[in-house]
């Protein structure tokens, strides 16, 4: 199965949610790594390749906007999907301009939809 090779990095400080996502993605055959803040994400991206990055915006230490700014050109090699409770259009425009491929408002996006989007990435 081709998807089994896909490596997903979940960047989320809410542990219960990152574990739920990890379980669903692992069940679907994806290789999953978790970072609990932006700095951990950048440290991992510096040493490993990820096919998909699921990125929360509001996090301690370093938020999702800063992560996108620092990732820069790397967003062309990794599909970055932003997941956030922020629903302002300006937030969506900003993350897309910083290289995110998609912006999902958590309250409008069931976890199964996120898994589907990772599969399609």
């Amino acid at each position: 199965m081709a998807d089994a090779q896909k490596h997903v990095l979940i960047v989320e400080d809410e542990k219960a949610l990152s574990h739920a996502l990890e379980l669903k993605l692992t069940h679907e055959g994806f290789l999953v790594t978790i970072a609990s803040n932006g700095q951990e994400c950048l440290d991992l991206v510096a040493t490993q390749h990820f096919d998909v990055l699921l990125l929360d915006l509001i996090m301690p230490v370093m938020d999702g906007f800063q992560v996108l700014e620092k990732l820069g050109a790397k967003t062309s090699q990794t599909a970055v999907f932003v997941l956030s409770n922020l629903s302002q259009h300006e937030d969506e425009e900003r993350v897309l301009s910083l290289g995110a491929r998609k912006f999902f408002i958590k309250s409008d996006t069931p976890l199964t939809t996120i898994v589907d989007e990772v599969r399609k990435a």
Binding site: E14, A16, L17, N85, L86, Q88, K106, S107, L111
Partner: protein, 169 residues
């Protein structure tokens, strides 16, 4: 291990403020901006939250509908639910307590710290009492369906998120 609190609140800034405050109080948080999101997470979390902080008015359902969903599910019905709302008519309070909410609180009458303290008490009660249902330890004044919620503390602010003495920097 830190307790996990699910916060269901559709006002973004308030959700952020509550989430931040709970995390600074050494609690893990599952933040939800809608009732359906909370239900989706409850269905998918490998470990259920220790308590639910529920706003009465949500953009996609009201607190009663959410409580009915929680109480109908055998896996979820013992999770203590604390309703925190901008309004509390006797009928709303009666209905929520009848459905099994542990407490109904007016946002304007409590500081975030006080609400977090009450959540800690609920979690401690749940851990200390085996087999006790969530409605058995209701405060007396809140268990009477005809009695509106008690103004237990002077308002520190109209909005707990505006409580600058409590907010992290």
């Amino acid at each position: 291990m830190n307790p996990t609190i699910m916060v269901v609140e559709d006002e973004e800034l308030l959700l952020q403020a509550i989430t931040k405050k709970l995390k600074l109080s050494e609690m893990d948080v599952v933040s939800c901006a809608s009732g359906q999101q909370a239900v989706d997470y409850l269905e998918n979390l490998d470990t259920l939250p220790d308590a639910i902080w529920l706003d009465y008015y949500l953009k996609d359902m009201n607190g009663l509908s959410f409580m009915e969903l929680v109480k109908q599910n055998p896996k979820w019905r013992d999770i203590p639910v604390l309703v925190v709302s901008n309004s509390a008519s006797p009928e709303k309070v009666h209905n929520m307590l009848a459905l099994g909410a542990k407490k109904y609180m007016l946002k304007a009458e409590y500081r975030l710290d006080e609400i977090i303290g009450i959540i800690r008490e609920f979690i401690a009660d749940a851990q200390n009492s085996t087999g006790a249902g969530p409605t058995t330890s209701l405060p007396a004044q809140m268990s009477d369906p005809q009695t509106p919620p008690q103004a237990a503390a002077p308002p520190a602010s109209d909005d707990p998120a505006d409580d600058s003495t409590n907010q992290p920097t």
